[in-house]
């Protein structure tokens, strides 16, 4: 759902706009790096794809249906930079052309739906791909989990923006519970569809899945009926040494991730009992005082209090898990960026070899371009 005008106050909207502009600038730089001068047509077509796929209805049950949000899918298929860029362009065009989402809320929309979703999804995806065994199935599983986490993470990010600049003081705990609760459900659908779609792409054109680069098996030549490795230098080398190193890293990461998730989800659940206890005492006192004043009001209030407490605990645990997810993702991102910089150009860009076959059909592209203006 797009945030409309008037939902977030003006200063925070402007600040979110600045954040969004910075993110788009980073995305532009990154996309130019990822796609070089092919950036404009390719990113444009991918944006058109996301726009179209948001119209594809997935029936749920009893006449209801949902559709894909596309942030996680874009990040996995075309990479984080191009993904941020494509989803931002889709949001910009929806705002200007279809009045979908307020113009002043464009910054909030881009920050929450394009940046947070895409970056969280990609970070989760990449770290899982590194942790899990190098199989096609683990790509699908990672895509599922990445999409599953990215949607409630975006909801939590929205709640944060709302807490800073919301125009109504709905209790933040309740907003968080409602937003994250609803978006966990949405996230399950998004995750299933994203995983299935990535699986479908990877079955046909594994080279087009940006997030699965470097997982392709090294090229082998059949010489006299025997499979022989291609000479070094001809193919991107994925020798045994880096693989072993990756595996040893993998164990450490797996253990660390599991521990921090357990800590965040379970321990914070109990740890939050202490402040909750304080709150409960205060609430009890408050309720008691009110009960003395007008006794009729006690039962709904008491109900609210208990409900609120249970929700706060749940939301605390959930927030912890999401927080760890975001942190792991950010840390991994930094680590990964540093490591990538150290081994530049180890992997050639995909698709550059596949550009050939379609060139004969390129002619019709231009008249179509003219037609649809």
């Amino acid at each position: 759902m797009h945030v409309p005008d008037g939902f977030i106050n003006a200063p925070v909207s402007v600040a979110a706009g600045v954040v969004a502009a910075a993110a788009v600038a980073v995305g532009l730089r990154g996309a130019r790096h990822e796609l070089e001068e092919r950036a404009a047509p390719l990113a444009g077509l991918v944006a058109a794809f996301i726009f179209a796929v948001q119209m594809l209805n997935f029936p749920v049950a009893a006449g209801t249906s949902g559709h894909l949000l596309g942030g996680a899918l874009a990040a996995i298929l075309v990479g984080p930079f191009t993904g941020v860029l494509c989803v931002s362009v889709v949001l910009l065009m929806q705002g200007i052309l279809f009045a979908d989402g307020g113009l002043t809320a464009l910054g909030v929309n881009i920050t929450v739906m394009a940046v947070v979703t895409t970056v969280v999804a990609y970070a989760v995806f990449r770290s899982l791909v590194k942790l899990l065994p190098r199989k096609r199935r683990s790509i699908t599983v990672s895509a599922f989990l990445a999409a599953l986490i990215s949607v409630p993470a975006a909801a939590a990010a929205f709640t944060l923006v709302y807490a800073i600049g919301g125009t109504t003081d709905v209790p933040i705990g309740r907003v968080l519970t409602a937003m994250v609760g609803v978006h966990v459900l949405i996230g399950i659908g998004e995750a299933a569809i994203t995983a299935l779609t990535v699986g479908a792409v990877i079955a046909v054109r594994p080279d087009l899945v940006y997030g699965a680069r470097g997982l392709t098996a090294p090229l082998k030549l059949r010489v006299n009926g025997e499979l022989v490795d291609t000479p070094a230098g001809a193919a991107p080398a994925t020798g045994p040494a880096p693989a072993a190193a990756a595996r040893s890293h993998r164990k450490v990461w797996l253990a660390g991730l599991a521990t921090s998730l357990v800590l965040a989800g379970v321990v914070s659940f109990y740890a939050s009992a202490s402040p909750d206890g304080l709150e409960k005492v205060a609430a009890d006192k408050g309720i008691d005082a009110e009960v003395e004043d007008h006794a009729a009001a006690d039962s709904p209030l008491a109900d609210y209090g208990v409900e609120g407490l249970g929700d706060a605990r749940m939301s605390g645990g959930l927030a912890g898990v999401i927080g760890v997810g975001v942190t792991v993702v950010a840390g991994t991102g930094v680590f990964w960026a540093v490591r990538r910089r150290r081994t530049p150009d180890a992997q050639a860009g995909p698709g550059s070899a596949q550009a050939g076959p379609g060139s004969a059909q390129a002619g019709p592209g231009s008249p179509q371009a003219g037609k649809s203006v």
Binding site: G6, A10, V24, R38, A39, L42, A192, V201
Partner: protein, 253 residues
């Protein structure tokens, strides 16, 4: 949704509002919405004046009221959310027809409804009076990065092509007896989405090669340089300027 979606909002015409350079209109709408958002919600009359201002623009643009109102339906999902606000917000409560509502929540709902509706109405007026290509040129004039504008223009140009491709896939599925029913058909639909991605990406590669073979080097040539005279700027900014006066009155009164 689907083909033609991109054109449906635009209403061709020759009104003075249609004739304004697109970048002045874009800037004016953005300024107007910003002013509306920063108006205090207690000044209810100010929002009435804003609505009158927009009505005047619609009159000048000869956009019938019915078409604007029909397009306001975009905001329906969010009206539902606004209706919930008085029930969940905190603070002082007031009894209306036997329901206990939060005063703060009522103000919040009013705030979101009024500002959201005005924002949507302003965007609808902009989209109704400005051609797609002009909008993109306007964005470029407003110093959006050229690459971003190029991506947006490719998205707009090929949006219908990709949507048509999706429709052909749907027709192919249905002519083979497929009917999307419940979660079990997700696999088929997701495979279609995957195929659509591959087709879109490959089309992007073909388009790029076609453009390279016609001399594309990474930037699009600007054929019609748009400029706006001072009179056009001041004409376009009559709307946000009037709104600003209302806003300042709203703060002081």
């Amino acid at each position: 949704m689907g083909a033609g979606h991109a054109h449906r909002l635009y209403r061709p015409g020759h009104s003075p509002v249609h004739a304004l350079p697109p970048h002045t209109k874009l800037a004016a709408v953005l300024a107007f919405v910003l002013v509306v958002v920063s108006t205090p919600r207690e000044a209810m009359w100010a929002f009435g004046l804003y609505a009158l201002l927009l009505a005047a623009v619609a009159y000048a643009a000869r956009v019938p009221a019915g078409s604007v109102l029909k397009r306001l339906l975009v905001e329906v999902p969010f009206v539902a959310f606004a209706v919930l606000m008085p029930f969940v917000a905190q603070g002082e409560r007031v009894d209306v027809l036997g329901l206990s509502l939060s005063v703060n929540g009522l103000w919040g709902a009013w705030n979101v409804l009024a500002k959201g509706t005005l924002g949507v109405a302003a965007s609808v007026l902009l989209a109704s009076t400005t051609e797609l290509r002009e909008l993109l040129l306007g964005l470029q004039r407003l110093r959006l990065p050229p690459l971003l504008v190029q991506i947006a223009s490719f998205m707009i140009r090929y949006g219908d092509v990709i949507a048509d491709e999706m429709r052909r896939m749907r027709i192919a599925r249905e002519s083979r007896g497929f009917e999307a029913r419940g979660v079990r058909s997700w696999g088929v639909l997701a495979k279609s989405a995957g195929a659509l991605f591959i087709r879109s990406y490959e089309r992007g590669e073909r388009v790029h090669l076609a453009m390279v073979s016609r001399g594309y080097t990474g930037s699009m040539p600007v054929i019609d340089e748009m400029t706006a005279s001072r009179a056009q700027w001041s004409y376009a900014f009559a709307l946000p300027a009037a709104a600003l006066v209302v806003c300042l009155l709203g703060w002081t009164l």
